[in-house]
Amino acid sequence: MQEFVFRGTNFVNSGAVGNHGFMTWDQIREMELEHAWETGGHTLHHEQLNQLDLDEAEQNLNQDFSNLIQQGLNPRSFALPRGQCPSQVYPIILNLYQNIRGSSDFAMHSPIDRKALGYLAYQSGWSAEPVKHRILRGIMNNEAIIIIGFHRFDAENEGYQDSCPSSVFRQILSFLWQYNLRVLPLHEAVEATMLY
């Protein structure tokens, strides 16, 4: 993405940072502080918020947010693990973050609801075409923002359902470059939709 001058958002499980296969704090800090990426909250260990009681959820969210702050990061967006969130937990998240991303893909027209953002998650086995067509339909449909999510790269042989080969990722980036589309961290993209 750096090659294409694109930036994005890392949604990290702060309790798992540095574990095998996960990014380290040094890498996360470098991406935000040196390359202007955004770091977003995603709970400590990808706990589903509808499986925690209210106190557990609040404690988890506060600790996760605190972990990011202690690293000198500025988290403004939160991604719901598996898109699940009981209604009474939303105020807790909104007390910490400005944007909440779920896990359903839907059209977002301006004015967008920043506490109920959708996204398309790349699935193992896809070519670049489903993502390209989703973006083209979004442009033709006057959508204000399109969020595409990638969970892993080059791990499809390990049985993951959401791993993207680097070659396909490059095709998607080339397509975005060809169309001169703005690729921004989530917080900046949401702010940009509110300019007009």
């Binding site: 004015p111 086995g125 489903p130 067509h133 083209l136 033709m140 359902q161 001169n180 007009y196």
Partner: protein, 346 residues
């Protein structure tokens, strides 16, 4: 929603309802709920799109020499305060020929085309297809005769988009024409000055209706923006081809200096009632964006149980060239109450 805003909204609604019998009050509710299965996105769940919109206000409320048009709207947000002033225009008649107006409204080029609204909200919440902006302005209008006028608007918005616009409008019972020249200090995309020359017009006869709109944007070289021009054109026609059957053709074209560089849409549709309140509208649409082509085939059925109200149900199949397609079903609602037709004076 905080208490103050809730009370303001509640008082507006209550006072509107209480006085609706004597004021040109109107209210609209529109929604579009759709679900799709995209056969190219294997492993992905069904997607569900929802769009909601509500608007209410007063049309042409006259008091002595003053005239008020007020529209408040909310789009998508119903569990928090998000009422926006869509339009507020105050006109003052100084003489039969001169009218001064002030207020705030959405402004742009290309609006109210049927091809964009089948079913309602299909293309989101944007009222205009090109160069939409918020225009807060002071205007002065001179009536050349009973059918035509010229108007000068000066204004802008908080996004550093001051503009000046001069327009000419002429209308008769069966046609209308509007021409305008606008200068903005900032284009909505390029953030550099732009000149916008536009036309719009419509023609209606018992068997044929035609509507067209266009704008030519000329951007001079400025900072990193190279001198260039952009073009927006849209037209649609509706012809009565048999008893109770309309054949409609629509086309829209936009050329930018940024991607998508060229985009166009062509729509062919039939409108045929199958009973007094039920109409069927099959349509075919080709959308192009540079080298990409999207074909859409839609069957829309509409039921009109009451005046200003419509329920729409549709099935839509669409696909890019040489690609698997998307199946969509949806339901749209458009309910309205409009007491403004009588143009009630006070």
């Amino acid at each position: 929603m905080n208490k103050a805003r809730f009370l303001l909204l509640a008082s507006l609604l209550v006072s509107s309802v209480l006085t609706a019998g004597s004021l040109p009050f109107y209210a609209e509710w529109q929604s579009l709920n759709s679900m799709y299965y995209d056969s190219i996105q294997s492993g992905k769940e069904l997607s569900w799109d929802e769009l909601y919109r509500a608007e209410f206000g007063f049309k042409n409320l006259r008091y002595n020499r003053m005239n008020l048009y007020l529209a408040l709207a909310t789009e998508q947000f119903f569990d928090e305060s998000h009422i926006k002033l869509k339009t507020l225009i105050l006109d003052a008649d100084f003489s039969p020929s001169w009218i001064l107006s002030a207020g705030s409204r959405e402004h742009g080029y290309g609006t109210d085309f049927a091809m964009d609204n089948l079913p309602v909200l299909m293309r989101g919440y944007d009222s205009y297809n090109y160069q939409m902006m918020r225009l807060n302005s002071l205007g002065i209008r001179y009536n050349l005769d009973s059918d035509s006028h010229i108007k000068l608007d000066l204004g802008g918005n908080t996004h550093n988009q001051p503009c000046g616009m001069i327009s000419y409008n002429r209308q008769s019972h069966s046609w209308n024409l509007a021409l305008s020249e606008e200068i903005r200090t900032m284009d909505s995309h390029w953030r550099t000055p732009v000149s916008l020359t536009s036309f719009s017009g419509a023609l209606a006869s018992p068997n044929l209706a035609f509507k067209a709109s266009g704008a030519l944007a000329i951007l001079p070289g400025w900072d990193s923006t190279k001198a260039h021009h952009e073009l927006y054109l849209q037209a649609e026609t509706s012809a009565k081809v048999a008893e109770n059957t309309l054949l409609d053709l629509g086309a829209a074209y936009t050329k930018h200096e940024y991607a998508p560089f060229e985009s166009s849409r062509y729509q062919l549709r039939l409108q045929r009632p199958v009973s007094e309140k039920i109409e069927l509208i099959p349509l075919c649409q080709l959308s192009t964006m540079d080298s990409e082509e999207l074909w859409q085939y839609r069957l829309l059925g509409t039921i009109k149980p009451l005046p200003h109200s419509q329920i729409g149900l549709y099935y839509d199949y669409s696909h890019f060239t040489n690609s698997k397609g998307r199946h969509s079903i949806g339901m749209s609602l458009s309910f309205g109450l409009d007491l403004s037709d009588a143009d009630i004076g006070m």
